[in-house]
């Protein structure tokens, strides 16, 4: 099978090189690696990659250029999978990115996750496959907001939802929680019902919608 072509944006030269090496090690093809948001947009135009991996904080302003570039690119290329690397747990950034195309093919992970090299490669593959991956730390923070409709969920259901947000399959969730797969299915059914996401025959991915409900939840 042909390898996944990636455009990589990261302003730290050391880390950029390291990431490129990591990607190659796991069979990705690095089409371009750049150091700022402008170059990122240009590289995506030129190479039309299968996946974008970008740091959020980049030159010239070192605020959220990478994120804004990603959101912009998703507008013109809705199907372009993007993994954003964040320095901190900042759910407002995550929410913004996930609002584009209902969060399909989006990853929002802490930068330090690259340290777990195999997991990181796995994350990239899941996002490339159209999945949504939210960093466990972000999800934990969001789940702790005890505001409606999240407070309707039981402790177990929150656990399941947080694993859903990480982009795992039912089988993997069942393995993590040491329960059977049908049990996971039942939990997910309850979550969707409690979050007012009834089956409506459309092709909107309700699992992703459930995760988005978390992220859009503003505490009041």
């Amino acid at each position: 099978m042909s390898s996944i072509r990636v455009v990589l944006a990261e302003d730290g030269a050391l880390l950029r090189e390291g990431l490129a090496g990591l990607l190659q090690r796991f069979g990705f093809a690095v089409a371009a690696s750049v150091g700022d948001a402008e170059a990122l947009v240009a590289a995506v135009e030129e190479h039309e990659p299968d996946l974008v991996v970008t740091d959020i904080r980049m030159p010239p302003d070192f605020s959220d250029e990478g994120l804004r570039a990603a959101v912009r690119m998703r507008r013109t290329r809705p199907a372009l999978p993007v993994v954003a690397l964040s320095q901190y747990v900042e759910s407002s950034y995550a929410a913004e990115l996930l609002d584009s195309q209902n969060g399909h093919g989006i990853g929002y992970v802490l930068k330090e996750r690259v340290v777990d090299v195999a997991d990181f490669a796995d994350t990239l593959r899941r996002v490339h496959g159209g999945g949504t991956v939210i960093d466990p730390a972000v999800v934990r923070q969001l789940v702790r907001r005890r505001s409606t409709p999240l407070e309707r969920l039981s402790e177990r259901e929150r656990e399941v939802l947080s694993l859903l947000a990480e982009g795992h399959s039912n089988a993997r969730i069942a393995r993590d929680l040491v329960v059977s797969e049908p049990t996971v299915g039942k939990h997910i059914g309850n979550i969707l019902a409690k979050l007012d996401l009834p089956p409506d025959g459309t092709d909107v991915d309700r699992r992703v919608m459930a995760v988005l409900t978390y992220l859009r939840e503003q505490p009041d």
Binding site: D64, S92, V115
Partner: protein, 455 residues
């Protein structure tokens, strides 16, 4: 590099504080200042007249003396002892009751002068209770006698000067300009030795009237300023003036220190983030890759696994430290994003409501964030609360930040340095803190921070 903004020095032109300052600005004629000055002069005329009548019970010997002297000039004779008695009686009455009148008059005048001058402060010492104490302190204070001098000047000089300026420039101008019209109706305009009875002959009058009218705003402003300057000389607190300007300087330098401190924090945050943190992640990533290549179950694999785990732990701690130094989300997205994130981190559940329509000046955001972080950590440590509400909203140009917890109450500002530190930090930016914490709760902490849009 980073476009970090330290609060720029305040070089915005402040609005004029007196008619004299206003006069030197290009837009003087279109400003409110000519009208404020006119209002001041007109009210001076009124005040002077009313006061002259009101204090006539203590000035009548002088008034009588005045008419007696006038009669003497006209040839009538008065005995010397009569004049001496009037003079003595007048002085005695004035000195005895003058201060009594001048203290409230001075208060009125300090209030009135704010029409054209920044606020003046009374130089009186506090007297405590008791009419006798009041009299003794007031009659022995320099401030009282300066006010007394002001009262005399107001009645004898300022009133007339103000009236003359208003009459000559403001009333006379339109009258002269209207003179062709008056003569056209067959009336005669009389001015000193001259009389004018045809519209053509009044043309010089019109010219003079125009000159007066154009000069009027300036004359009025200069007079108002002169009066206000005298009022400041006689009615303002002089004892503490030097102290006050020193206090202003101290306040400013304190604000500068806080700014410098904040800038330094950001620099450290940036250095850690761009330097150590990146290098550490890169290193740990290499270790992770190396670990994959090591023979499974070998000593090398075990060592690398342990190193990897330690590196990850260090990265996590470093992230927390860097975030604690200066939360990036605060400078990026302001309080509406930063406060909920802060609330998420709190051990006690927090309900946040942030109602801000615009970004606030940097120092206000920093202070507000600091206050919120400190209050939440206080709640966690001391209150024994199960829930906190954190509200931030704008009340005009004031940011109001409130935390209300359902804990046991009884928070005491004297108990530790936490609350005092908060109050200090808020005071630096000109804000205030209120605390209500009855035993049994709830505890309510309210910070008000002024924030002018241009900051």
């Amino acid at each position: 590099m980073n476009k970090e903004t330290t609060a720029p020095p305040e070089d915005r032109k402040t609005p004029p504080g007196t008619p004299w300052e206003a006069l030197r600005r290009p837009r003087f004629l279109w400003s409110l200042w000519p009208w404020r000055s006119l209002g001041y002069l007109a009210s001076t005329v009124l005040t002077g007249t009313v006061l002259a009548v009101l204090i006539s019970p203590i000035t009548f010997p002088f008034l009588s003396l005045g008419s007696a002297l006038e009669e003497m000039v006209q040839g009538q004779n008065h005995p010397t002892w009569f004049l001496a008695v009037l003079l003595g009686l007048g002085l005695a009455l004035l000195l005895a009751f003058g201060p009594l009148v001048s203290v409230p008059v001075a208060r009125l005048e300090r209030w009135r002068v704010r029409l054209v001058h920044p606020r003046l402060r009374s130089g009186h010492r506090p007297t405590g209770k008791g009419a006798l104490r009041w009299v003794r302190i007031r009659y022995t204070e320099a401030a009282t006698w300066r006010e007394f001098a002001y009262l005399l000047l107001l009645v004898v000089v300022f009133g007339y000067v103000s009236w003359t300026v208003v009459y000559l420039f403001v009333l006379m101008g339109p009258f002269l300009i209207a003179s062709p019209l008056i003569t056209a109706f067959g009336e005669t305009v009389a001015l000193f030795p001259w009389e004018f009875d045809t519209p053509a002959s009044t043309l010089p009058l019109v010219a003079a009237g125009l000159v007066l009218l154009v000069a009027a705003p300036y004359a009025v402003a200069v007079t108002a300023h002169a009066h206000a300057a005298l009022a400041r000389l006689l009615l303002d607190d002089r004892g503490t003036e030097g102290l006050r300007s020193e206090l202003v300087e101290v306040t400013r330098s304190r604000a500068r220190l806080v700014d410098a401190f904040e800038t330094e924090r950001r620099r450290i945050e940036r250095d850690l983030h761009d330097g150590a943190q990146q290098q550490l992640i890169s290193l740990a990533m290499q270790v992770g890759l190396a670990r994959m290549d090591a023979p499974p179950g070998s000593d090398m694999e075990r060592t690398l696994t342990s190193v990897h785990a330690q590196a990850k732990e260090i990265i996590g701690s470093l992230r927390e430290i860097v975030h604690g130094i200066h939360p990036k989300v605060l400078s990026d997205r302001g309080l509406p994003a930063a406060l909920p994130e802060l609330a998420d981190r709190s051990a006690v559940p927090v309900r946040t409501r942030v109602d801000l329509s615009r970004r606030l000046p940097v120092h206000v955001e920093n202070t507000a964030y600091y206050v919120a972080a400190e209050s939440l950590s206080n709640v966690t440590k001391h209150a024994g609360a199960t829930g906190v509400r954190l509200n931030a909203s704008l009340d005009g140009d004031t940011l109001v930040l409130e935390t209300i917890d359902d804990g046991q109450g009884g928070a005491d500002p004297d108990g530790g340095t936490g609350l005092t530190g908060l109050a200090d930090r808020v005071a630096v930016v000109g804000g205030r803190i209120w605390l209500s914490s009855p035993p049994g709760g709830p505890t309510r902490l309210r910070a008000e921070i002024p924030c002018h849009p241009s900051g």
